[in-house]
Every structure is written in structure tokens, then in C-alpha cells.
Symmetry: C2
């Protein structure tokens, strides 16, 4: 990639929406386009849309493809970052060993970097958000699932086959609740948004005197994690108990991760951002209780800072990090020929 080229295209492929952005190499987003994914159309049709969107976004800011350094793509995994092949992400039916990088690369004729969304999101939080200036960072989404991204010295840690950082599938209780992955008692099966809601419904079934149920219109099946968080902010006892349980499991799981990875900053998304210190304060406490003192000394769990922007910045950050790495390793000149 040529570091002289001043623009970057970012592509965020979600299960319900597609986004393309044009940014400069500082990460400033100049333009954004958002279309529904309509995931039933299959990968080829979605890639056609993405190509159209990329050209449209560029033309809206008056930039030529010749001035674009590269395309960063944030997408559900599993995927192979080297070959650029995507393997059946749960949110994208029909993407079975789909050569995303090749398809986009040959259509757009510029270098493409693909990355799973949790890794790319972690990189964005490191570059622009809560993990700035730290050498050892762990990012954990805390939304529909608990994805993870390990960022060391500004680079994503991929592991042997791009499967590292699956921290949400750390099994805490082998006889615990069923997880989407097929196992039982994963951190994700205890603390993802839907899992917190499930635990809330279980508790409310026995103890319906709670603001959570009121916020759900009195319907147990309508209980969502947002209502738990909202009720906790208003001091509801059951909601606070649910957040404390969540903090316990997360603190325990993160303590294990702190002992293994010795990271300085653990950046948590979605639910942690919404709940704030109600969740993060006890979570940090449990983490310190369960972790060894030396790694715990330097570790801090903090809320993510990028909010809704994370997907766009994730895609853009991939290209910027690649440029930094190429400069550092001295391979820039070769590739920009």
C-alpha cells in the first residue's frame, strides 16, 4: 500500500446493515453510506452492493479510487485474514468459505484487508478510543455476544489460524446455561445482552416485584437488558443484583484473562457502556479479588469510547495499522511500487 495516497475506504458488513465510509489517513470520516444488508441475497449480491456503495461514497466526496490507499473490511468471523476467505459467520447465511478479499480486490483494484469485527473493533478502540497509548489491550464486546480482540503494540494478535481472542467462550461453568456455540457455561452464555435478559426473566419469574417488569410492560417475555440497566440506574434491587451477578462472572473471567495475557486495559462495549460504574465498579473489584496481585496491579476495566462509530473506525483502523506496521518493518517501499 502506498502511504502517499491520502484516503481509505472502510467497509462494515453487519447482519442487518452494510456501511461504507471514506476517511483520511488520520481516521477522520469524511462520508458515510448505510444500506440494509438483506442477508438472504447471499454474498455475491452483497458484494455487488458494497462495490456500488464504495464508488458512490467516493464520488460524494470527490475522491478518485487512485487516491485510495486501501480498503479495510470489518466482518463477522470466522475468517482467514491472509487468504481473505470468510467461513459461515452466524449473521451471514450462505457465506461458506467465501473469498471476500479476492472479490472486493478484483472489483475495486486496490489492496483489501479483512478482519473479524471484534478484532477490528479492538484495534479502533486502541487507535481512537479507550485504549489509546497502551501496549497491551483486550477489547470485549458485550452485546449480542461477547467477542474479543487482543491488541498488542498496536497490532491485532491473531494466533495460529485467526482464532485467538475468543474470550467469550471461556467456559466458567461446564454445567451452566447453553451457549450459542454449543457449549455450556461460557462467559457469553452468562453475560451477553441476551444472557443477562434470560437471567433477569428467570429471577423475575420468582420475584416479580421489580421495575424491570414494569419497564417491560408487565410482560416477562418482553424483558430486555436495557430495562435491567435502566432499572438499576433507578436503584431497583433486583436489577442491581443482576448487575452484581454479571460483574461477578465478568470479573472472574477477566481475572483469568489478566493472569494469562497481563493486559493493562480491558475495554468493554455496549452493556458495560450503558451500565457504566454500576457494572464496572463491582467488575473491577471482582477482577482484583480473583486475579494475581502483580498482573492486577496494572490492569483496569474501562468502558469503550467509540459507541456507534466503532464499526466504521474499525474498518478504517485496519488500513492505518497496516501502514504503520509496513513502515515499521520497512516493507512499505516494496508494496507501494
Amino acid at each position: 500500500m502506498n502511504s502517499i495516497k491520502p484516503y481509505i475506504i472502510g467497509i462494515d458488513i453487519g447482519g442487518t446493515k452494510l456501511a461504507t465510509v471514506v476517511a483520511d489517513t488520520e481516521g477522520t470520516i469524511l462520508r458515510k453510506l448505510r444500506w440494509p444488508t438483506d442477508s438472504q441475497r447471499g454474498p455475491d449480491a452483497i458484494v455487488d452492493s458494497l462495490i456500488e456503495m464504495a464508488h458512490l461514497t467516493l464520488s460524494e466526496v470527490g475522491v478518485n479510487m487512485a487516491d485510495v490507499a486501501g480498503v479495510g473490511v470489518s466482518c463477522g468471523g470466522p475468517l482467514d485474514t491472509e487468504t481473505g476467505v470468510v467461513y459461515s459467520p452466524p449473521n451471514l447465511p450462505g457465506w461458506d468459505a467465501y473469498p471476500l478479499k479476492d472479490k472486493l480486490g478484483s472489483a475495486l483494484e486496490i489492496p483489501v484487508i479483512i478482519e473479524n469485527d471484534a478484532n477490528a473493533g479492538g484495534l479502533a478502540e486502541w487507535m481512537f478510543g479507550a485504549g489509546q497509548r497502551c501496549r497491551y489491550m483486550l477489547y470485549m464486546t458485550m452485546g449480542t455476544g461477547i467477542g474479543g480482540g487482543i491488541v498488542i503494540d498496536g497490532q491485532i494478535y491473531h494466533g495460529a489460524n485467526d482464532s485467538a481472542g475468543e474470550v467469550g467462550h471461556q467456559i466458567l461453568i461446564p454445567e451452566g446455561p447453553l451457549c450459542g456455540c454449543g457449549q455450556r457455561g461460557c462467559l457469553e452464555a452468562l453475560c451477553s445482552g441476551p444472557s443477562i435478559a434470560r437471567r433477569a426473566r428467570e429471577l423475575i419469574a420468582h420475584d416479580p416485584d421489580t421495575l424491570i417488569l414494569e419497564l417491560a410492560g408487565g410482560r416477562l417475555e418482553s424483558v430486555r437488558t436495557e430495562f435491567v440497566v435502566q432499572a438499576a440506574h433507578e436503584g431497583d434491587a433486583l436489577a442491581l443484583k443482576l448487575l452484581d451477578q454479571t460483574a461477578y462472572y465478568m470479573g472472574w473471567g477477566i481475572a483469568n484473562l489478566v493472569n494469562i495475557l497481563n493486559v493493562e486495559v480491558i475495554v468493554l462495549g455496549t452493556v458495560a457502556v450503558a451500565a457504566g460504574s454500576l457494572l464496572l465498579e463491582p467488575m473491577n473489584r471482582y477482577m482484583r479479588r480473583f486475579a494475581m496481585s502483580r498482573p492486577a496491579e496494572v490492569a483496569q476495566i474501562v468502558p469503550a469510547q467509540l459507541g456507534e462509530l466503532v464499526g466504521d473506525l474499525a474498518a478504517v483502523a485496519l488500513v492505518i495499522a497496516d501502514q504503520i506496521e509496513r513502515t515499521r518493518s520497512g516493507t512499505n517501499s516494496t508494496l507501494s511500487q
Copy 2:
């Protein structure tokens, strides 16, 4: 360090024995000296012994200090690899913030690298043993404790303050048996040598009809893990049950590590080496049952290969890895001036 200098001194500081070796830069050990630690003497006296031993070992092979590239020191942690300060290892009373690197360096007048024994042992298994030619390796001792060392691309992963790889203190059961670290239900409290013996005694107290008890001379308090392994090799049902429990906990814990680190080879020491496939076969099976399929695909738990040599080779490997890294990063010429 000057890569032209053909010899390396390795120092292994254990709670009961001290060892110095002289090796060439291929890792061939030319001479070894072993003295008791007598740990009550305190660090200064031990360092005096080590300096004497180093000179003695060198003179026995007729090598001058001027031909030694550096000293690698494998020592109980926690310690700071940069400053070379050792912080109260459990097996070395009185070593409280002791500046080991400075003391050795100023006495021997050559560069010193210090490293905790589990990390250094992992590096040795990567360089000379079961982890050769793999990019992502995890080493786990399985002796008195369960130490861990993460080796990526031939370099030890240290984390933010040299505390990474404490995989033995992954908490599996917060209400489980007490661990030496003060927590409950750590992997170490379930599967270290002494922990297996403790579980054996608990089971035998209720079910004394086992070869294990016979091997222990009929005395419950004399039951040791060696007897469990020996009885298992002879088909004893209780011993096999104990190994299966051990394999279950280890397989569960390693599955979590595989999901997080996506390593290819997990090298296990001591007990795993003694028990062999009786332990490793079910452990690999449990690991695959609990890990996600993609990281599990490339992961394999194998026995360590260096046996008693690990401590000596650990110390030597530190200097060799440092030389490789300096050559790779181009800092060799600067430092060898």
C-alpha cells in the same frame, strides 16, 4: 551481546539446587556444576556461590570470560526482566526486590538476562524440545505447581509487567480447593503434583482398595502422585479415575487457553511426561470437547521432551533467543560494539 563470542553461561536458581553450565551458541552443554542452594543463606551469599560456580565451570572447559556472549539466568518469579529485580519467589526466602541482574552483571562483567523459570523452560522446549518449529506455543509445568510460558515466534510473551502466562492460576471453581496463591479452585489447586496427591488421599479415604495405597506402604499420608501414575500404568481403577479427573480439569482449562491464545502446541511437563498417553489422550479429548472447533483444529497437547535438562537449557536458550532477536531487529551491531 556480541554474536561472535562462542560461549554462553547458563544459571539455574532453584529452591534446593543451583546449577551453572557452559554451552556453545548451538545449545550444546559442555560442562555443568551443581551445588545445593541452602536458601537460608540469603541472596548475596547465593550470588557469591553462583559467581564462583560460573568461574569454576568456565575454567573446567578452559574458556575465558572474554569469549562468553552472555549469562542467562532461570529463576523463580515474580521478577522484572528489564530491571532484573527479583520479587520474593516462594522458593527463595529473603529475595525481596533483589537486584539479581545488577549483582551478577557487575561481578561477571558480561550481559545478563534473567527470566522466570516457566517462561525460560517454555523457550527451551520451543528451541530444543517438543515445540520446535511451531510459531504459537504454550508451555505448562505440571510439577509442584503449574507455571506457564507463552512463546510466540520464538520469543517469550511477557505482558505489561512480566506477569503473563500465569495459566496455573486460571480459576475454574471459585469454591474449589485452596491454592498456594490464596485463591480457590485454580487449575494448580486441582492438577499440580501435590493437588493430584491430595485428591488421591481424599478418594482413598473412602475407597482404600487400590494399588496406590499399597505403593504408599499402606499409609494414606505417604500417597504421592508418582504412585498414582505407577498404579494407573498397572491398570488400577482408582488411579485411572484420578487421571481422568485430572485430564478433565486440564482439558477444560487448556480449552479456554486455546480459545484465547490460539496456540498450536501445548507442551506439558513432569506429571504429563510420567503418565504419558494415560493422561494426554483423555486430556486432548476433553480439550477438543470444550474448545471451539477452529482453534482446536490446530491445537495439540504433547509431553515435554527435555526432562531434567530443561533448567540448564532454559538458561542457555535465553541468550540464544536474545541473539536471534537482536539480529532480526538489527540492533546486534550497536550492542556488540
